[in-house]
Amino acid sequence: MEDLAPPLELLLIVKSSIEKGKSIQDGIKRYLSASSGHTFAKHSFEATTRQWFLLIERQMATHELVAGVKSIYRRQVLQLLETGIKKEPIYNQILILEHEIYQACEREIQEKLIKLPYLVMIPVLFFQFPALLTVIFGPLLQNFIESLR
């Protein structure tokens, strides 16, 4: 979980690109080249972004692809960037969206922290605790049974 959420990563790279006076496309390319071969390359968002960017470059419609993305934040990011690619100013919206996604990430981490004790109980209860009991009581029980015989 140590990597950033993929839409936030994309937004931060594009924002940094705009701040340097470069284009949005340049930021997206940087995101795609950084994510290929990285751990979060497995995320479906990277593949979707790649596909979406190809459609943009070929000047084809992206509505269907964007509508297929489940997360509203990811959809928002792609729609915002598409607006930016069409030469509309989006820097302020990027800042707002960045803040929103950051808050959402914090909420998700919080939820994960709440669920964690219950999730951790599964391997502990079903694997580690029986293993401990086996080491402690296994030889003891066998000794006891043999003494009864």
Binding site: S16, Y73, I122, A131, V135, I136
Partner: protein
């Protein structure tokens, strides 16, 4: 017997010299304290004497032991780099703060960076040395090993070459870096809880195994230990899976 002892001692001595060289390289590259290095050297001397004492009849055991230690020492830099990366991330923020302070007070970017670098000590100084040298000499940043420092060097090089609104660019860079660090710090808490729990349970399992070993017959104990260890390892793998296999829903 005398020959075996001589061979064992020679292997120990050779192993000691290779190990000392490897650890010296590691300490030099990471800029770690020399007093710790001296302590480790004395510790290694003790190991040489102990190994020579116990394995003087079988040079193969001595050779295997040193081979294992040398392989471990070769992996030390990779392990340390992973461990130091978090610290470097925190330190790079503080480094950037000092640069911003310097630039705000009217210094040039390079002077502010040199001044921020002067305040560093120990391994931090050694890590940032490559960055400062690359910036001052205009060298390629690809030689910097740490990904955080490499990224910082690229960003600082861009700011330096752009020559406009340096302070504003540095502040934006700091804000982006802080945002990333804050979120990574929060998400690490999830992994930390599992690591602590997993570590504690492994410790308990080893302690309980030792207790059983000292109280029951070895044959009886071993019959239960193997299946229990396999079962326990499944639990550890489960914890590891839970820790690693998180996908962002956002």
């Amino acid at each position: 017997m005398m020959l075996s002892m001589v061979v064992s001692f020679s292997i120990s001595l050779l192993g000691f010299l290779i190990l000392k060289h490897e650890i010296h390289e590691f300490f030099f590259n990471f800029g770690l304290s020399t007093s710790i290095f001296n302590f480790i050297t004395y510790f290694l001397v003790l190991i040489v004497l102990t190994v020579t004492h116990f394995a003087f009849e079988s040079p193969v055991v001595a050779w295997s032991f040193y081979f294992f230690l040398i392989v471990c020492s070769r992996m030390l830099p990779h392990l340390a780099r992973t461990l130091f990366e978090n610290e470097i991330q925190k330190e790079s923020l503080s480094f950037l703060d000092k640069i911003i302070l310097g630039v705000s007070s009217g210094m040039s970017l390079r002077s502010a960076m040199d001044k921020a670098f002067d305040g560093m000590h120990g391994w931090r100084r050694r890590q940032f040395y490559d960055l400062v040298r690359a910036m001052n000499l205009g060298q390629n940043v690809s030689k910097i090993m740490s990904p955080t420092l490499k990224n910082l060097a690229e960003e600082l090089t861009f700011v330096q070459t752009s020559q406009v609104k340096i302070l504003e660019q540095l502040q934006k860079l700091r804000r982006n870096l802080k945002l990333r660090l804050d979120l990574r710090h929060r998400s690490r808490q999830v992994a930390l809880n599992m690591n602590v729990q997993g570590g504690f349970l492994i410790f308990v399992f080893i302690a309980v195994s030792f207790f059983s070993y000292s109280n029951y017959e070895t044959k009886l104990f071993l019959r239960y230990l193997l299946p229990a260890t396999i079962w326990f390892s499944f639990g550890c793998l489960g914890l590891f899976y839970l820790q690693r296999n998180h996908k962002w829903k956002i």
